[in-house]
């Protein structure tokens, strides 16, 4: 930098190169500090949880039901409850969310009404989850008579993630180039044929990414499920959508609320399991997404 290139007539510029490069370096280190801070906090959390919980992890822990005696306690019902919950939530929010997104992007006219709907969907994404819990309690548990069941919980969580599913699916659909739609219409395809054969396949990886993020949020939700009356002590696995249930975050919440230190360590163990389940879920969704992408680009 200190070496200047030869040549005359440069006096009209004052490049101050050293200073500009210094600013650039400072910015780079600030960004590095941001990521280092985030990673450090994450590692600290993971280490803290691992130190407390790792020694409780065993096959027994995964296959036993909750117990008042820490040494006999397990999280089988919570794991199964969480899996049921995720499956049903996905089954409900995916078709509803993608359908709504397709309608908004491909069918609806852009007018004041759709603008209002759009704004409200964005606002709903910011509503505290406990509010969805109250709604779920009133509608699903009481009015529709689902009771304190897996179905009521999943329906509540589906409502909770729906705005995010819709918005991310809309983004993915909007990213499909207009030229592709024109190509399909140009050979005499109807709107549905264009959407079905060309828009959706191209948008699907993006839609799935939104779905992964939404379910990752849903699996950690506690408040709305407590609100609708998920139980904290379940000594049997749910076998149908109408069974009562518990989920991992509630089990964790319940154990951390107890005075005994052993239960706090059990909670740490359950947190590790929750993280692993989350990772597995995301990994499988990413595999699915990549397979979709590969098939599209073949």
């Amino acid at each position: 930098m200190s070496v200047s290139l030869p040549g005359a007539g440069q006096e009209r510029f004052r490049p101050r190169l050293a200073r500009r490069h210094r600013t650039g370096r400072i910015f780079r280190y600030l960004c590095l500090a941001s990521i280092a801070f985030s990673v450090a906090v994450l590692i600290a959390l993971l280490v803290d949880v691992a130190v407390d919980g790792l020694r409780w992890l065993s096959l027994d822990f995964l296959t036993r039901y909750p117990s008042r005696i820490p040494a006999r306690a397990g999280i089988k019902s919570a794991i199964l409850g969480s899996l049921w919950m995720m499956g049903l939530t996905a089954a409900m929010s995916f078709p509803l969310g993608v359908g709504a997104a397709i309608y908004l992007e491909e069918y609806s006219k852009k007018n004041r009404l759709t603008g209002l709907i759009q704004t409200n969907i964005a606002n709903l994404a910011g509503v505290p989850s406990i509010v969805y819990g109250i709604l779920g309690l009133a509608i699903f548990v009481r009015y529709l008579g689902f009771g304190r069941s897996v179905l009521a919980g999943a329906a509540t969580l589906a409502l909770l993630v729906l705005p995010v599913v819709i918005i991310s699916a809309q983004e993915a659909i909007r990213a499909v180039p207009t030229s592709l739609r024109e190509a399909a219409y140009g050979v005499g395809a109807t709107r549905w044929q264009t959407v079905r054969h060309h828009v959706l396949p191209v948008a699907m990886p993006g839609i799935l990414t939104g779905m992964i993020l939404s379910l990752s949020r849903a699996i950690g939700e506690t408040a709305p499920l407590i609100m609708i009356g998920a139980l904290t002590f379940i000594a049997f696995p749910p076998t149908s959508p109408m069974d009562p249930f518990t989920v991992l975050p509630i089990q964790i919440f319940n154990w951390t609320a107890k005075p005994q230190a052993e239960f706090h360590e059990l909670a740490a163990g359950a947190i590790i399991v929750l993280l692993v389940v989350l990772l597995l879920m995301n990994a499988s969704a990413i595999v699915m997404r990549n397979r979709y992408r590969a098939r599209r680009d073949q």
């Binding site: 592709l180 024109e182 190509a183 399909a184 219409y185 140009g186 050979v187 005499g188 395809a189 073949q298």
Partner: protein, 250 residues
Amino acid sequence: MSDIALRTEELSVWYGSTQAVKEITLDVPKNQVVAFIGPSGCGKSTLLRCFNRMNDLIPVARVGGKVLFGGANLYDEAVDPVEVRRRIGMVFQKPNPFPKTIYENVAFGLRINGFTGNLDEQVERSLRAAAIWDEVKDRLQDSALGLSGGQQQRLCIARALAVEPEILLMDEPASALDPIATSRIEDLIAELKTDYTIVIVTHNMQQAARVSDLTAFLYLGELIEYGVTQRLFTNPTEERTEQYITGRFG
């Protein structure tokens, strides 16, 4: 009348409150190549997109006047734009193959339109007609995205031809291609003329002079002059046409 493929009567297009095409009346004769020329924004693409109701896809676009195709007005309530687009095919400015196999690109239009003939034969026939068969016959199951720009554009022409349209609309089909690929497309247009009526938009006057039988010069949404290409380029009657083709504006 029977040798007219398409006729517009006082055709106008508005985008919101701006009028992009102003009361244009012209005939497109059968088995001829008609070129639309004019400076950017003169409405030539907009006019072309009226011929297969592509403007329907733009929410703010409004169309007035008539486009007559075999006696029927394409903008009549009873006319289905899906039917129109099969009968009047289109090739776009940028090659836009589907992100699927070469075979699927051509077969898609056949499948969705309930083609009753032999699919393989029709795909081959279309690819041959678009002069790309020899280059792709050994890799029909490969992705169309692996083709070069010029090949992709000829594939798009094959895709349009597959559904047996009567008219082929081409919106600056060579503007994104290199000179060699461009000349292949131009040769192809000359060959296709025997079986199809072609309307081509181009910003390249040499291209219009090379490929077309008739040329229409548009300026600010108005049809300034329309006539036999050779005459229009050598002896234009309108002053603005002369100014444009001699490069004094545009």
